[in-house]
């Protein structure tokens, strides 16, 4: 399985409720999106399919009559005048009743449409650039319900004695120093966290977050340098922590959809902010304590 496939598998593994909303993808988050396809102007040239490196597109030998009949022909017309003519003639002739897509007789070239396989798409925009007929565009929406499908809610668990268990990804630079400082200052923060040192908060990969959850942790905390002080990019909007902030927001929305809302958090502290670091941890642990143990603990228990 490719990387995207593994990630989606992980999300399926940790989902405890069926997602119902199509998610907005934050601006800086790349790699997730939706392809909008207009069959009415498509010439079935397969240029998009050739361009897609992850085989997220395929030809479908169907004439998408419903789209043809509901298409509104723009003032300047389609680029392909031929399809435009076909559609306008069909619209004139349209009689009563519902319309369905029909198969292309086998052996006839020049007809067909494209199917987009949501979960394979890495939103690279290559197909959009390749399409000569402007039938495709990439939208910052992620169709989580389609990708994850139906989720079986794991049995609820009754845990009497429970202490939250939180994984904290700390960046090599500021956050780790802050954590050290907090220790040096003998500040109290809950013993419920285990820190994992990473070069930069931006280097935390979603699959690592999912893996932590999969193994039954109750929450994941990502900490980085103060915004604009990232050691890998500084105040560049594309610096590690800026990027990760958007990504974590995206994953938070995913978590909410799959029944893990509130269990992922990102925050920032400079090397000198030992106190702030202790606060961040305390607040997050308290939050988790309120939400309760990870529902996945139940799943793990059943499995083991």
């Amino acid at each position: 399985m490719d990387k995207r496939g593994r990630l989606i598998q992980k999300i399926r593994n940790i989902a405890v409720q069926t997602p119902t909303h199509i998610l907005e993808v934050p601006e800086k988050v790349e790699g997730f999106g939706s392809i909008n396809y207009k069959p009415e102007s498509c010439s079935a040239c397969k240029k998009c399919i050739e361009a897609c490196e992850v085989e997220a597109l395929d030809i479908d030998l169907m004439v998408q009559l419903p789209a043809y009949l509901s298409a509104i022909i723009p003032e300047e017309g389609f680029r392909s005048k031929n399809r435009e003519t076909l559609i306008s003639l069909l619209q004139i002739l349209k009689g009563e009743g519902d319309v369905q897509a029909i198969p292309v007789p086998s052996g006839l070239s020049g007809y067909g449409s494209v199917v987009w396989i949501t979960e394979k798409c890495i939103a690279c925009n290559k197909c959009v650039e390749a399409c000569p007929e402007d039938c495709l565009d990439l939208e910052k929406k992620y169709d989580l319900p389609t990708i994850i499908g139906n989720v079986v809610t794991p049995p609820s668990i009754s845990i009497t004695e429970w202490e939250p268990f939180v994984i904290c990804f700390v960046c090599w630079e500021c956050s780790h120093a802050a954590a050290d400082l907090a220790g040096l200052m003998h500040l109290h923060y809950p013993a419920n966290i285990r820190t994992v040192r990473v070069p930069c908060s931006g280097a935390v990969e979603p699959i690592q977050i999912m893996t932590a959850m999969e193994n039954g942790v109750d929450g994941v905390l990502v900490t980085g340098c103060l915004l604009s002080e990232c050691h890998y990019g500084g105040d560049d909007p594309l610096a590690g922590n800026f990027m990760q902030q958007d990504f974590v927001h995206f994953w938070q929305s995913v978590f909410k959809e799959i029944g893990l809302g509130g269990r992922l958090h990102i925050d920032f502290a400079s090397a000198a902010m030992g106190i702030r670091f202790a606060e961040i941890v305390t607040e997050f642990v308290e939050q988790i304590r309120k939400i309760g143990p990870s529902p996945l603990r139940g799943k793990l228990e059943v499995e083991s």
Binding site: S43, C45, K47, L65, L89, I102, L108
Partner: protein, 654 residues
């Protein structure tokens, strides 16, 4: 100026149609309207010539273009001419309909006037042809082709692939005729081609087109060389192989199991003891050509004549000569329809179980020998050569020809021909004949520059998505992909317009036949019909210019009457019709649209009959889906031998 010339056909047509009304109506759309009595005779032609200046656009309202078109072409230089067959498609087929027939004439003339508006001069091109021909294969067909070309004064290169030497041909050609005849035939021909260039080698690469194929050959001696040829003849012959069932027949395991040919060819030295029982096990699944069948019958007949008992177990035998079968039976050959399912060897011989598929019975036979006829297939080289040359093969690997009757030596690529056994197993005389045929075709190409004219498809790079649908659809390899754009090769083009309907973006338009021109014509027909005939329904018949048009003309000659609301529109090939033209026909108000093509398999452009059926089937599906009656659109075939087809499609009223 737009001029209309009407002909009364020696004072007959004006009795069937109201020429006064036609003339009056026509004056509104033509600048000049003339009426002649015998447009096809000298006086008429002279009058026509006198009345024309070079840049006039002209409509001839007379008999079929097949008739009047011929003398006209010789006399008149104007190339913007449209024909309205008032006689065959109106006067003679609507004898009972008086006024309505006249109305139809007027409708057709209004269509022709619009047709003129969109007509362009035909493209003309001259291409110089390389004078040399490449013949591949030095067997009987190849030698014959080289020899004939040489005799015609054409420069020839004879390429002999490494593995196909004289021995190969003599060995594998037993079925063509007896070895002695073959050997002497080959020797005779060899003498005639002493000064022909002969190379031993294999083809590495082929580029170019009819008239200038650039061929790179890896030679045995001088390394590789590249040379240009105007045409290529493939004569890579046959080879024989054991059928896959041979092993099951214990071939190679038992000395008593041999090939059928070995019983004959070894006859002089270690001939099978006569008076033995020989079971001939024909492979049950492999189809047998008539040449193989004849060879089988000849061989078994001879073996039986020597006193052997011959049992032939077969599924199907074809032969070129029915007598052979009789002769074989008369010599005592026993034929059992079925298959050999098991062979066991014991000290008495071979115990063979035969399943008689006709009577569904089993029986065991003890034979001294089992003989297996070898299968004849193309040489392995044939496949390689075909691949390098870009020509198609059939399922058995033989070179595919375009249509066996009309162009028996034409491969799927123009300028490349096939001679002899590379096409199918052939007898000696057939192989020689096919070589002659290929020589003739090649000679026609290389003897003079190619001068052609016609309306051609024009590709608009801006509109093209490079989807390559047209490449797949073109039956003549006349479109190619070069530097990521589609290039048209006029020398290969047959002017069929199939590429137009294949193109999803209509980046290809056919000269004089653009989408706009069809639409304008349909609109003119509908408007004029409505004005003259009111609400009376009408049909549009999209007829291919070959068989379908001939059938419609023929209806006129034999007087098969049909309804008047029927307007025939000629397409170069029915394969050019796309759903758009059909739907437009319905939109302008036609009650029915009939797409008429050549009979199945008889399309002059190979695929037009089939493609038009597919286009119509898609259009019908679309109509059904959008709530319209799909039966308003039909595809059908027509041919000159069936003049009543129009009557079936457009019945007489009442």
């Amino acid at each position: 100026m737009k001029k209309l010339f009407l002909c009364t056909c020696n004072g007959t047509l004006n009795k069937l149609l109201d020429f006064t009304r036609i003339g009056k109506e026509a004056k509104a759309i033509y600048d000049v309207v003339e009426v002649a009595d015998n447009l096809c005779l000298e006086e008429g032609l002279a009058e026509l010539e006198k009345g024309l200046s070079g840049d006039d656009r002209l409509v001839i309202g007379a008999c079929s273009s097949q008739i009047i078109g011929v003398p006209m072409k010789q006399r008149i230089k104007n190339d913007l001419v449209a024909f309205v067959p008032l006689r065959e498609q109106v006067g003679w087929v609507h004898l009972e309909e008086g006024e309505s027939a006249t109305n139809k004439a007027i409708v057709l003339l209004s269509d022709a006037a619009v047709q003129l508006d969109y007509m362009e001069s035909q493209a003309e091109f001259t291409e110089n042809m390389v004078g040399r021909v490449l013949v591949i294969g030095g067997g009987i067909a190849g030698l014959k082709a080289a020899s004939d070309l040489h005799r015609l004064g054409v420069e020839v290169t004879l390429l002999e692939p490494f593995k196909l030497d004289k021995h190969h041909y003599l060995q594998t050609s037993v079925f063509m005729s007896d070895a002695d005849t073959l050997r002497s035939e080959i020797q005779e021909i060899q003498k005639t081609i002493l000064d022909v260039e002969r190379i031993r080698g294999e083809i590495r690469e082929v580029r170019g087109q009819l008239g200038s194929y650039e061929v790179t050959i890896n030679g045995a001696k001088d390394g590789s060389m590249t040379q240009e040829f105007g045409a290529i003849i493939i004569a890579s012959g046959n080879q024989q192989s054991l059928p896959s069932s041979a092993k099951k027949m214990r071939y190679g395991k038992s000395e008593r199991v041999v090939t059928l040919d070995s019983l004959i060819s070894n006859s002089k030295k270690k001939r099978a003891k006569d008076r033995s029982t020989i079971l001939v096990a024909v492979d049950f699944d492999a189809p047998m050509s008539s040449v193989e069948g004849s060879h089988l019958l000849r061989t078994t007949r001879d073996l039986a004549a020597r006193g052997n008992t011959i049992i032939v177990v077969y599924s199907d035998i074809q032969t070129e000569d029915e007598n052979l079968y009789r002769e074989a039976r008369d010599s005592g050959v026993i034929f059992i329809r079925g298959r050999v399912t098991r062979i066991k060897e014991n000290d008495k011989g071979l115990s063979c179980r035969i399943e008689n598929t006709l009577e569904s019975m089993q029986r065991d036979v003890i034979a001294d020998r089992v003989a297996i006829p070898r299968l004849i297939g193309p040489t392995i080289e044939t496949t390689q050569i075909a691949e390098k040359l870009g020509v198609e093969c059939d399922d058995s690997g033989f070179i595919r020809t375009r249509y066996s009757k009309m162009k028996p030596v034409q491969t799927s690529r123009r300028g490349i021909f096939v001679a002899g056994g590379a096409k199918m197993p052939m007898s000696l005389s057939d192989a020689m004949a096919s070589a002659q045929n290929a020589v003739l075709e090649a000679f026609k190409i290389v003897r003079s520059p190619l001068v052609r004219s016609g309306w051609i498809p024009v590709i608009d790079d801006e509109e093209c998505d490079v989807c390559k649908a047209c490449l797949d659809a073109c039956p003549n390899d006349a479109l190619r992909l070069m530097d990521d754009r589609i290039v048209h090769i006029p020398a290969h083009c047959e002017f069929c317009g199939i590429c137009v309907s294949a193109c999803p973006t209509r980046a290809i338009e056919f000269q004089s036949h653009s989408k706009e021109s069809w639409f304008a014509r349909f609109e003119a027909i509908a408007a004029t019909h409505k004005r003259l005939e009111g609400k009376k329904p009408f049909s549009l018949v999209f007829a291919c210019s070959e068989c379908a048009n001939a059938s419609i003309d023929q209806a006129g000659f034999v007087g098969k009457q049909y309804g008047t609301g029927s307007y025939v529109i000629q397409f170069p090939c029915a394969g050019m019709v796309s759903p758009i033209e059909i739907l437009k026909g319905l939109v302008v108000g036609a009650n029915r649209v009939i797409v008429a093509h050549c009979p199945p398999g008889g399309c002059h452009h190979q695929t037009g009959d089939h493609l038009s059926e597919l286009v119509v089937s898609l259009t019908r599906d679309m109509l059904r889906e959008i709530g319209q009656n799909p039966d308003r659109v039909r595809a059908t075939y027509m041919m000159a031998a069936m003049p009543d087809k129009m009557q079936k499609e457009v019945p007489v009223r009442g």
